[in-house]
């Protein structure tokens, strides 16, 4: 189903990632007072009904497939790393053999591609920031590879703020990555992928307070988050 390389019409696909909590766009890296901004606006996880903020989000999109207006498709041999501490990672530019009209991907890496130290020389400090621990047999829950996603911040419950770290990755060699179905759009060379981070937590319910601040070895928490692929990503085109 891949493109015919003998009939390549080279073009570009420029992608910008924007982040939201529902309708509220997040401007990471901007010069603002995080507590004052976040906790005084209505950024509420509606299913849980308490406020939370997102201080940073880092995530991997792999198994990226581009779909073209002529019906062909192409599996990229690269992945996207988005780090809200580094807004330069919000922009991706691809050489493509046609005009794109769709994209699908996986949040995180499949087990097949989540190999210890495999991405050690990749750009944007990916390896150091996303390494999933390998305890060398001391603790079989952690056998290395890379985080899929790290979403971190504070939540308010009964007037008290606490930190949460929603870090996902493979536990006990189990794959909790999330496949995202094709997002379609009118054929174009520039798209914006809007990421509603709130929906990491909403369908099904992920209760930050219930699961606690640290969930890397919590199978129930990982399983719940792995089912939350719906409604996170949407595409708009730039004209």
């Amino acid at each position: 189903m891949s493109c015919d390389p003998t009939n390549n019409k080279m073009g570009n696909l420029n992608i910008e990632f924007k982040h939201f909590i529902d309708d509220n766009e997040l401007y990471f890296g901007s010069d603002w007072d995080w507590d004052a901004v976040w906790f005084h606006q209505d950024y509420v996880n509606k299913s849980i009904n308490y406020q939370y903020n997102i201080r940073r989000a880092l995530y991997v999109l792999s198994d990226i497939i581009l779909y073209f207006e002529d019906g062909s498709s192409q599996l990229l041999d690269d992945y996207f790393f988005i780090n809200t501490d580094d807004p330069s990672t919000f922009y991706k530019s691809l050489d493509v053999p046609g005009v794109c009209s769709g994209i699908s991907f996986r949040i995180g890496f499949s087990s097949e591609n989540n190999i210890d130290n495999y991405y050690i020389n990749d750009q944007d400090n990916f390896h150091s920031l996303m390494l999933w621990p390998n305890l060398n047999g001391v603790n079989l829950s952690f056998q290395g590879g890379y985080h899929y996603m790290k979403v971190e911040g504070k939540y308010l419950e009964d007037g008290e703020s606490s930190f949460y770290n929603a870090h996902t990755g493979p536990i006990n060699a189990q794959d909790y990555s999330i496949l995202i179905d094709q997002l379609t759009f009118p054929a174009t060379s520039s798209i914006v992928i809007n990421v509603n981070l709130n929906n990491f937590f909403n369908d099904p319910l992920y209760d930050i307070s219930l699961f606690g601040s640290a969930i890397m070895d919590n199978v129930d928490a990982q399983s719940t988050l792995s089912q939350n692929g719906t409604g996170i990503f949407s595409v708009e085109i730039l004209k």
Binding site: D35, R55, S128, L131, N136, V138, N139, K154, S162, N165
Partner: protein
Amino acid sequence: MILIYGCQPFLRQNNYDDNCNDDNLNFINLSYPSNFPNMIIPNNNPLTEEGINLGRHLFYDPILSTDNTISCASCHKQDNAFSDPSQYSNGVNQAIGARNASAIINPGWQLFFDWDGKSNSLEEQAVRPIFNDIELHNISWLEVISRLEESELYIELFCKAFNETYIDSNHIVMALSQFQRTLISSNSRFDQWLNGQVMFTQEEINGFNIYATERGDCFHCHPIGLFTDNAFHNNGLDSEFQDFGRYNITGLLVDKGSFKSPTLRNIEFSAPYMHDGRFATLDDVIDHYDFGGYDSPTVDPLMKYVGVGLFLSSQEKVDLKAFLLTLSDPSFINNPSFSNPFNN
């Protein structure tokens, strides 16, 4: 405005026009473990035996300070993993710094230098202390080069390293950087355990399990391998800041009170700890994280037990410390290739 130092090299043609056209530079390929990334080496500053040797001499020689009293090694001592056992270091005229001198361990993999990351490369970093008032206190490259030009030793070493009949400010920086890139530590007990050469004690195993899981959660900022994430964090040292750290560089409010995660390799040798050297011992450091740290608007979410604490048991603290001590690499602090060449 007078440009004292900057991107343009300062050089002065000299009278010594002996042949420096020996093209037989001995290029060096450093070896390091497979769980280290490729070292960052600029294309215009490949490592050579001659450049490293020059850099080693410059590193240890007080000739780089304005009054010939202070060298790089005055504050970056090999016995202490190239850090300073004093909380603050003395520069020229007994000037005292405001931060603890960073350890120099595996700098060839660092993306940022100094506690606040004000330098983005070894070459950039090497310039700063030469002109810092509280360090080597020079005013211009001219005065530095003038002192070096009076030394037959350096005329010869620069000739061998860079094939030039003049001393160039860029070459000073390049040689210092080359030497520092050789300061590789990868032969700790932990490395040997990973390679199956030694067995861990039960305390060390337990400590590793605390370190590399969210029980202790040390690994996010100090991931296995280089034991630094090459990033900046406010680790809850203060609720109000005397030193704004990374904020001084970026101007972003979110960076207030953030400092670079240092490597934990050789942490046994590099006391005192934190950017201001406030903790004298590893036990103090473990107690800080066990306490959870102080809250502030910019405290890092990875410090998720702020105000709560880790509640490590006494035995867990012993275990964690036992693991941290496995990161010691005696062959690093005793490596004769890294030692003071003037003592040989």
